[in-house]
Amino acid sequence: MANALLQAIISGILVGATYALVAMGIVIVYRSSGIFNFAHGAIILVEAFVFWTLTSLAQWPLGLCVLITVATAYAIGAGIEFLAMRPLLGQPILPSIMMTLGLSMLFIGIYEVVWGHRGPVTFPEFMPMGHWVVGEIVIGQANTIILGAAILLLLLFNLFFRFTDTGKQVQAICESHIIAQSVGIDVKRVLSFVWVIACGCAALAGILVGATGSVGIHLDELVFMVIPVIILGGLESMGGALIAGLIVGLVEMISAAFIDPIIGGGFRQVAPYLFLLIILIVKPYGLFGWKRIERI
C-alpha cells in the first residue's frame, strides 16, 4: 500500500512534468496578450512530426534536426502572430479564442494531409529510455529528463523576465497594451517575440514528449489536458504551471491507482477535469494567479 502510494506519487510528478512543459508555452502567451492558445497542442503535433520527418525519413544528425525543428517553430510563431493575431488586437476576447481554435483545426488538417496516413510513429531512440529501480519503485529516465527540462526552462524564463529589457517589456504589456505602447514599448514586436518563444516551447515539448512514447494525434489533446494545470497554477504564473503540473499529475495517478479499481478503469482521463471544476468554483484565480477576476 505504502509502496503503491509512493509509486503513484512519483509517476504523478513525472507525468506532471510533461504537463508543466506544455503549460509554460501557453502561459507565456496568456500573460502577455490574455489569449488562451488552443492551437498549442496542434503546433506540438506538427513540430513533433517535423522532427520525426527529419530524424527518421531524412536521417540527418540529431543536433541539426533539433535546430531545424526549432527554426520552423519560430517561423510558425512569427507567422501566426503577424497574419492571424495582429488583426485581432484590441478586440474582445471571443474572436481571439476562436482564432486559436481555428488555427488548431488548420494545423490538425495540415497534419492529417501530410502525415495522417501513417498513424502513430516513434522517434529513433536518442534519450535514455531505461528505468531506475529504487526498492520496488520504478522511475522512468526519459520522464526525469522532461522534469529537468521543465525546471531549467522555468529558471531561464525567470532570469529572462527579471534581467533582460525584452523580458521586462513582456511584463509591462501584461498590464495594459495601451499604456505600454504609450511609454514607448513596441507592443507588436514584443507580442511577436512572445509567440515565437511559445512556439519554440511547443517544439521542445513535441520533441521531448514524443521521445517518451509514440507520436500521433493524441499530442493535440495535451492542450486540453493541461487546462486544469494552468487554472490551478494561475493563468499568469510560470512557476505555478510547474507546481500545478506536478499536483495534477499526482491527482491523476492517485485516482488511477486508487479509484480505478473501484469503478473499473479510465477514471484517470476525467479526474483532472473534475478537479478543474472544483478549482474553478473554489479558487478560480489559482494558486499563484493575479486576483483580477471580476466578480459579478
Binding site: G34, F36, A84, P87, L88, Q91, I93, L94, P95, I97, M98, M99, L101, G102, L103, S104, M105, L106, F107, I108, G109, I110, Y111, E112, V113, V114, G116, H117, F224, I227, P228, I231, I263, G264, G266, Q269, V270, Y273, L274, L276, L277, L280, I281, P284, I293, E294, R295, I296
Partner: protein, 353 residues
C-alpha cells in the same frame, strides 16, 4: 436598426411596431420561402434530403448557441455535450424503455435544460474565458460518462434506435426526417426571434455589452445568465432528439469537442447576435464541410496514386480552420453583416447614399 425597412413604411400602431414582418413584400417572400421548403423534400434525392435535415438540426443548436454567446456573451465550448445529453436521453427512453418519441424528446429537453443550468452556475462567478474552460470540462466529462455508462448508452459500440413513429407516422424515409427538421427549425427560429425582442432578449444584450451597467440598471444577472444557459441547452436538447431520429445510431464520436467548436464557428461566421446570421452561418459551414468532402473524394478516386482518401478529413479541417481565420480577420461581423450590406445596396441603387 430600421435599415431593413423600405422608405415610406411607417408603424401606425403598437402591434405594427412590434411585428416581425413589416411589409407585404416581406410577407410574400416569407410565404414563398416556407412554401418552397415544404414542397421541396419529395423532389430531392436522399442525399440532398440528408443534407437539408443535417443543416436544419445544426441550425437549431446554433440558434440556441447564438442566444447564449451572441446575445448574452457567455462563451460555451460544450454545446455538443448538451446535444449529446438530448440525443442519448431520447435514444435511451425511446429505444430501451419504449416511451413515445414526443415524450422522450420533451424529457430530453428537460434533462438538457437541467444540465445547462448546472453548467451555467459557474457563470455566476466566472467571466469570459474561465467560463469557456468550465464548459470544456463539462464536454470531456459527458464524453467520458457516455463511454463508461455502456449498459445504458452502448458505450463506444453505439446505441441503435428503431425507426421513429410519431402519432402513427413512421419516419422511415429521409424525406420525412427532413420535413420534421424543417418544421422544428421554423418553429424554433420564430421562437428565438421573438425571444430576442422581449425583455429577456434585451437584457441578454445588456449583459453582453456591460454586465456591471446591466446590473445597475436592475437586470437580475444570475437569473438572466441562467435563463440564457437554460434556453440554449433546451435548443441543444431538442436538436439532440432530432439527431437520434436522424442518425438512428448514436455514437460518442458524434458529440466531441470538435463539434462544439464547429457550432461556435457557425455562430461566428454567421455573425454574433444575429439570428439570420445563425441560419447563413450554418448553411455555409455545413455546405463547406460537405463540399470539401465530396470534392476531395472525387479527386482521390481520380488520382489514387498521389492522394489517399484519409487526407479528406485533413482537407476539410484545414478548410474550416482557414474559413474561421479569414472570417475573423476580414468580416468579423459575419455573413449577416454582408447580407445587410447587400440589401441596403439593392435598396439604394442607383444612388448609393
Amino acid at each position: 436598426m430600421n435599415l431593413t425597412i423600405p422608405a415610406g413604411v411607417r408603424d401606425e400602431n403598437y402591434s405594427q411596431a412590434i411585428g416581425v414582418v413589416k411589409t407585404k413584400t416581406q410577407w410574400g417572400l416569407a410565404m414563398v420561402g416556407l412554401l418552397v421548403l415544404f414542397i421541396l423534400p419529395p423532389f430531392l434525392s436522399d442525399y440532398l434530403n440528408n443534407l437539408l435535415a443535417l443543416i436544419c438540426i445544426n441550425m437549431i443548436v446554433v440558434l440556441g448557441l447564438n442566444l447564449l454567446t451572441g446575445y448574452c456573451g457567455q462563451i460555451s465550448l460544450g454545446q455538443s455535450a448538451f446535444v449529446a445529453m438530448g440525443a442519448y436521453t431520447t435514444g435511451i427512453l425511446y429505444a430501451t424503455y419504449h416511451f413515445p418519441f414526443v415524450l422522450a424528446a420533451f424529457l430530453a429537453a428537460i434533462v438538457s435544460a437541467v444540465s445547462g443550468i448546472i453548467v451555467g452556475l459557474p457563470s455566476v462567478r466566472l467571466k469570459g474565458f474561465y467560463l469557456a474552460l468550465s464548459t470544456v470540462a463539462f464536454q470531456f466529462i459527458v464524453y467520458w460518462v457516455i463511454f463508461k455508462a455502456d449498459a445504458l448508452t452502448g458505450g463506444g459500440y453505439g446505441l441503435a434506435i428503431p425507426a421513429v413513429k410519431i402519432f402513427g407516422i413512421s419516419f422511415d424515409t429521409r424525406g420525412k426526417v427532413a420535413y420534421l427538421s424543417i418544421i422544428s427549425v421554423v418553429i424554433l427560429s420564430y421562437f428565438a426571434k421573438s425571444l430576442a425582442r422581449t425583455k429577456t432578449g434585451r437584457s441578454f444584450i445588456a449583459i453582453r455589452d456591460n454586465d456591471l451597467a446591466a446590473e445597475v440598471m436592475g437586470i437580475a444577472l444570475t437569473k438572466t445568465k441562467l435563463t440564457a444557459f437554460l434556453i440554449s441547452s433546451i435548443y441543444a436538447g431538442l436538436a439532440g432528439a432530432l439527431y437520434a431520429l436522424y442518425f438512428r445510431w448514436l455514437m460518442p464520436d458524434l458529440f466531441t469537442l470538435a463539434h462544439s467548436v464547429w457550432y461556435l464557428a457557425m455562430v461566428i461566421v454567421g455573425g454574433m447576435g444575429s439570428l439570420v446570421g445563425s441560419i447563413l452561418g450554418t448553411v455555409f459551414i455545413v455546405c463547406l464541410q460537405e463540399a470539401t468532402r465530396v470534392w476531395f473524394a472525387n479527386l482521390a478516386t481520380a488520382f489514387p496514386k498521389v492522394l489517399s482518401v484519409a487526407m479528406g478529413t485533413g482537407i476539410s479541417h484545414s478548410a474550416l480552420g482557414l474559413a474561421i481565420a479569414l472570417f475573423l480577420i476580414f468580416e468579423p461581423r459575419g455573413l449577416s453583416h454582408r447580407w445587410e450590406m447587400i440589401k441596403s445596396t439593392y435598396r439604394l441603387w442607383p444612388f448609393s447614399y
